[in-house]
Every structure is written in structure tokens, then in C-alpha cells.
């Protein structure tokens, strides 16, 4: 018998990642903040509520249409903090660089990070660099961590979804994953697809300042919309029903998904959020999102139900019904 080892599957963001977290990680670090399993931890520090989050980026290739590993890393942590209902303030950057990376590429990545931080209004305040021998890393890996402040009375969490909530997605799904896939060697598609990587902090601030009652915010990154909805259904002990016809997907993205047998519901996004909002505030929230630079294609895709707790259902275009499970297995590796 082969010894049990970490497989790529464990990094998919789907079931294997979840069981790695709950079986191997959580039991050793067990604490209230971690066990909430939100995009970032919510911390009370001497009267101020902070959001704290970290993420590592190992995307291959490091340059792709619409961005590179640098802005992806900055936007990713900004979004994780924003999804706690916080205003991101400060970011740290850890760079693990493979010997031989062209200085020109390194500089371009740093410039892009600076631009992304500036655009989002956050400061990169601390960091670290390490260089490893050729072959011990792949060009460059980046870790970003960040801190944000949560205003009093804001209570956003994956465990707050309530029956009757409407579910809004802020734009087209699957753009990022398909962009990365189609920029890989050997898979050259003649298309204008680009990553959706974007900072969502301003969109989140507009939603929160509107006084709409926001229950859940989440960015469906690895594992895609399908996996994220499953996480929320299980965290909140509710059922979720979405309508396939309403799902926004760009034609070329849909085309490549069909060609390669990928389900867009499980393909990663890097500049989209989903919001769970009570019906009374749903339309207003939708309009606020649509007014944001990155939310023009926002739509309501479904609602929360009291039955079928922990399960996600999709009403198909032909009127059928099917379950959306969490992603099992890797659709394709190293997308973020």
C-alpha cells in the first residue's frame, strides 16, 4: 500500500479541502474564531471589531489576460476581508521567488500590486522576501494577509442566511478559471476572455452604508459558485434554490466550459461576490451593486428555503430540478 499523501485534490477548494480543514487543521488549532469558517476571522480587539485574513497565490501561469499573480494576490485578500463586512486597511505581502525569475517580470508584478492597492485604497505596510533555488518553487508564490475594520452593528457571516433571503451574484461567473485554463500551454483559444480579478471593497462599503440588512457576503473563488453556496447552506442550516436561467455566464466562457466538460458552477471567480439579503432589501441591494464599476451584470439568482437544509438545488432551463453538490475532485489545478 502506498503511504497516504497530500494530493492536488486537497487544494481544489472542494470536498477534499474541506475535509483536510475539518479533520487535520481545525482539531489542532480549535478556537471560536477559526471554527466560524468565514473568509476571514472576526476579532474583538479592545472595543474595535477587526477582520483578519490571509491567502497564498500560486497561479500558473503568473501572467494571464486581464492581470497577473500580483493584483490577484492583493485583490484576493481585499475581497476576503470585505466579505467579513469590513473595510480593508492594511496588507502584508510575502514573496517566495524562484531563482532565475526575470527582474523585469518581478518588477511588473510589484508595480501591478502597488496599483491594485492604490486603486482599492489599502496600504501594503509590511512584508518579506525569500529566494529559493531553481526548481524549489515555480517562478513566484505570493502570500498576502490583511486587516480591516468592521463598523458597529455590521454582522455578516456565512452562518446568517435565513429562509426567504434573496441571493444576488454581482456578475458573470467562471471568467477567472476559464481565463487561466485557456492561457495554459497547449490550450490556446482565440477569445477575448479575461480574468474578473477586481477589488470589491467599494461595492461592499456601498452595500453596508445603504443600511440594507445584509446577512451573508462571500466571494465564490476556488470551487466556484456551487461550492460556496453549499458552504453557506451548511453553515446556516438552510436550503438554497437557484435558477439556471438567471445565471450570468459570458458566451465564450460557456463555450469553453462545454468544450472541455467543465461545469461553470464549479469554476473559480476572483472579482465576484454573492450577497444574501432579505426580500425587502433585495432590489435596493441589487441596484447598489449594479451601480458599482464591477457589478454591472449583477442579478438575483435564487433564494433561501427552510426545507432541504444543507442542500443546494438548481432549477434547470428545461424546468427540471437537480442537486448542486460541493466540488469533488480537481477541475484544474493552480488557478489562484
Amino acid at each position: 500500500m502506498t503511504e497516504e499523501k497530500i494530493l492536488l485534490d486537497h487544494g481544489s477548494g472542494g470536498k477534499a479541502s474541506h475535509s483536510m480543514f475539518s479533520d487535520m487543521i481545525l482539531p489542532l488549532f480549535e478556537n471560536f474564531e477559526l471554527s466560524k469558517q468565514d473568509d476571514g476571522a472576526t476579532l474583538d480587539v479592545e472595543g474595535t471589531t477587526l477582520a483578519f485574513s490571509t491567502d497564498s497565490y500560486v497561479v500558473d501561469p503568473i501572467f494571464f489576460p486581464g492581470g497577473n499573480i500580483g493584483d490577484l494576490a492583493v485583490n484576493g485578500t481585499i475581497n476576503d476581508i470585505s466579505m467579513c463586512g469590513a473595510t480593508p486597511k492594511y496588507i502584508s505581502v510575502g514573496l517566495i521567488i524562484e531563482e532565475g525569475l526575470p527582474i523585469k517580470d518581478f518588477k511588473l508584478i510589484l508595480e501591478t500590486m502597488a496599483t491594485a492597492a492604490k486603486k482599492a485604497g489599502v496600504k501594503i505596510v509590511t512584508g518579506d522576501t525569500k529566494v529559493v533555488p531553481k526548481g524549489k518553487a515555480d517562478k513566484i508564490f505570493i502570500n498576502t494577509s490583511g486587516i480591516g475594520v468592521i463598523s458597529p452593528n455590521v454582522n455578516v457571516s456565512g452562518s446568517n442566511a435565513k429562509p426567504g433571503d434573496k441571493i444576488i451574484v454581482s456578475g458573470t461567473i467562471a471568467d477567472h478559471g476559464i481565463t487561466i485554463l485557456s492561457s495554459r500551454e497547449g490550450l490556446k483559444f482565440d477569445s477575448d476572455i479575461k480574468t474578473d480579478s477586481a477589488p470589491l471593497n467599494k461595492m461592499v462599503q456601498s452595500i453596508i452604508q445603504s443600511n440594507c440588512d445584509i446577512h451573508v457576503l462571500r466571494d465564490p473563488t476556488r470551487g466556484g459558485l456551487g461550492t460556496t453556496l453549499n458552504e453557506i447552506a451548511s453553515q446556516s442550516n438552510v436550503g438554497i434554490k437557484i435558477d439556471e436561467q438567471s445565471l450570468p455566464i459570458r458566451g465564450p466562457v460557456q463555450g469553453i466550459c462545454e468544450l472541455l466538460g467543465f461545469d461553470p458552477l464549479y469554476v473559480a471567480n476572483e472579482g465576484k461576490l454573492i450577497a444574501f439579503v432579505p426580500q425587502k432589501d433585495a432590489q435596493k441591494t441589487l441596484e447598489i451593486i449594479q451601480r458599482d464599476e464591477f457589478g454591472k451584470d449583477a442579478v438575483i439568482i435564487g433564494e433561501v428555503t427552510s426545507e432541504d437544509s444543507g442542500k443546494v438545488f438548481l432549477k434547470t432551463t428545461i424546468g427540471g430540478l437537480r442537486i448542486i453538490d460541493m466540488l469533488t475532485g480537481e477541475q484544474f489545478p493552480r488557478i489562484c
Binding site: 499523501k5 492536488l8 458566451g251 465564450p252 472541455l260 428545461i318 437537480r322 469533488t328
Partner: protein, 361 residues
Amino acid sequence: MALKYIEEYRDGVLARGLVKKIHSVSKKDLRLMEVCGTHTTAIFRHGIRSVLPQGITLLSGPGCPVCVTAQKDIDAFVEFARVKNVIVTTFGDLIKVPGSSSTLGKEKASGADVRIVYSVFDAINIARENKDKEVVFCGVGFETTIPTIAAGILMGIEGKVDNFSVYSANKLTPPALAALMETDGVEIDGFILPGHVSVITGTDAYRDTFEKYDIPSVISGFEPIDILQAILLLIQQNEAEKPALENAYPRAVSDAGNGKAKQIMNQVFEVCNASWRGIGEIPLSGMELKKEYQKFDAAIRFGMDMPDVPEPKGCACGEILMGLKSPYKCPLYKKKCTPMNPVGPCMVSSEGSCAAFYRYS
């Protein structure tokens, strides 16, 4: 890139019209088999079962290439990964399929050079870039894939790529349909025939099987409208007791099929007996390299001949592939066998019926 013909064939109004018609003509209880794994996935993905009359049962057939790959062939793939200086190139679906002792994925995690490719041509390129290594391609496919493998071999010859070889576990569709019809206990009232395979083979390839067994047979595309249309035709044939071989996918499938693809396939490969997982040996249902191309045969190049091994105890993949059992009836389903820890290949492949049942129901 604009890929047309998706929305048109997912139109809700059109679909509801077809569903209504299906309900109005359907009187008998029928068991219809979708032969192809892509159909199995599409049927789940679009929730087709949930809109059909109760008496219509859809069975998933032996048309997922990974699912019908014999255990000894999976063992061979794993063994190639253990050979020094070998790069194993494979379609992604095979990575997690359990052999007797390991999977390609586990070998990769242990340091073997296993690479996922999207076609045989990627494997040829890898061979070109790694002249000091041997590149083995895991040939697992039906009539849709075999011509591309043949073209890859011809390309390898032309480009003098000597460090490339193929392990052929390729299979043919019509002999499997005939084998099913000969199996005791198999009750099928109609075949939803595979669209992609038929693009290559043409409608004529099924004529012998159809004439011998007089079984309703309809070639179908993969969009919900295509599948509903095929189901409607099969119900109509059964209700009228007039079996026919019909092509409901004429936008892609002709009577004669793709002549060029078949010519390349038959230039490089020849028909042989083949082992199907869970079903056993089906005469003349496989494709092996012809003598003049044997230097590209990985089994010969490496002297790889893995012994036959029994399939895991309790695994019902074979019966499921023949429509004798539904995944729910397998004692291992959702217990010992899950997509995370699959026992049989039907739980691994994205087109496998157990994986589809697990994911979508």
C-alpha cells in the same frame, strides 16, 4: 470564439413542449439506455429525469471510456508511472481511478512524472521537449478518440518522435451493444445512441445490431432538447411497436460518418478482442496497433503485461454498466465508495454513472 447551438437547444419553451408531448404519448413502462457517459451527465445536469413520466426509466450504459477500462489496464498505467525516465500522459479522468495498489494521482504525489493532457498531440509535444525521456500515452477512448490517437502516431512518425508510445485500451461501441443484448437479464426497450461516436461511425455502424435485435435506437445530441427529442422518438417507436434506427442528431451525424477519420483509424489500428471492466471479454470490441506500427505500442516497448486481477469485492460497476443495477443498489455506493475515495471507476470519471448519481441526486 463563438460556439453556437447551445442556447437554442436549451430553450425552456421548446423543452416544455417536448415534455408535454412525451407525457401525452407515453403509456408503457419503458427502460431506455443512454449508452454514452456524456449523455448520463447531461441527463443529470439538465434534470431530465425529473420531467419524465414515472414509467420511463433511464439506464446508464457502458459508454464512459474510463469506466469500462479493465483493472489490468489501470494497473499497467500505474506501472508505467513507476518506470524510471517515463512521463505518463493521460486524460484527467484517469488520475484517480484505483488500480490494484495505487492510482496515477498517488504515483504523481510520490514523485512520478504524470501529466494531464487534453489530446494525444500534447503528449507528442511533451515527447519532443523531453528527448531523454520516454513518453507513454494512456489510450482510453472510443471511436471519437481513436482516430486522433492514430493521427498522433502518424504525426510522431513524420516528426521522427521516437520516444513516444501508446498503451491502447481503446474500445468500439457497436460490439458492446450487441454484447449487452446477448446478456441474460438485460432488459432494454431502446438505445439513446452516442452523438460524438456517431459523428465518426455514422448511422450505418449500428445497422447490423439494430437489424439483429430489432431494438428501437435513436442517435442523439447532448443538449436537453436533443435528448428529450430522442426520448420522445424512442417512446413513439415503442408505443407503435415499430422499432427503427433513427438519427435525431443530423446536424452532426451522417449515414456514412467521417470517412477520413475512419481511414486514419483503420490505417494504424486493427480490431482485436478486448476486456471490459465488469463485463469481461467482448470479441472484436477493441483496437490494437497494426504490426507495422507496433514500435509505438507501449505494451510491447516496455514488455508490459499485467495479470488479470479480480475487481474489488462488492463493486457493482459491471452490473451498473449493463443496466442490471442502479448505483443505489450497489452495497458500496455512498458508503465505502465516494468520489473522494472511489472503489470503482464509475465513481471516478466525470462521466461515470455512480459519480453522476452522487453529484446530482
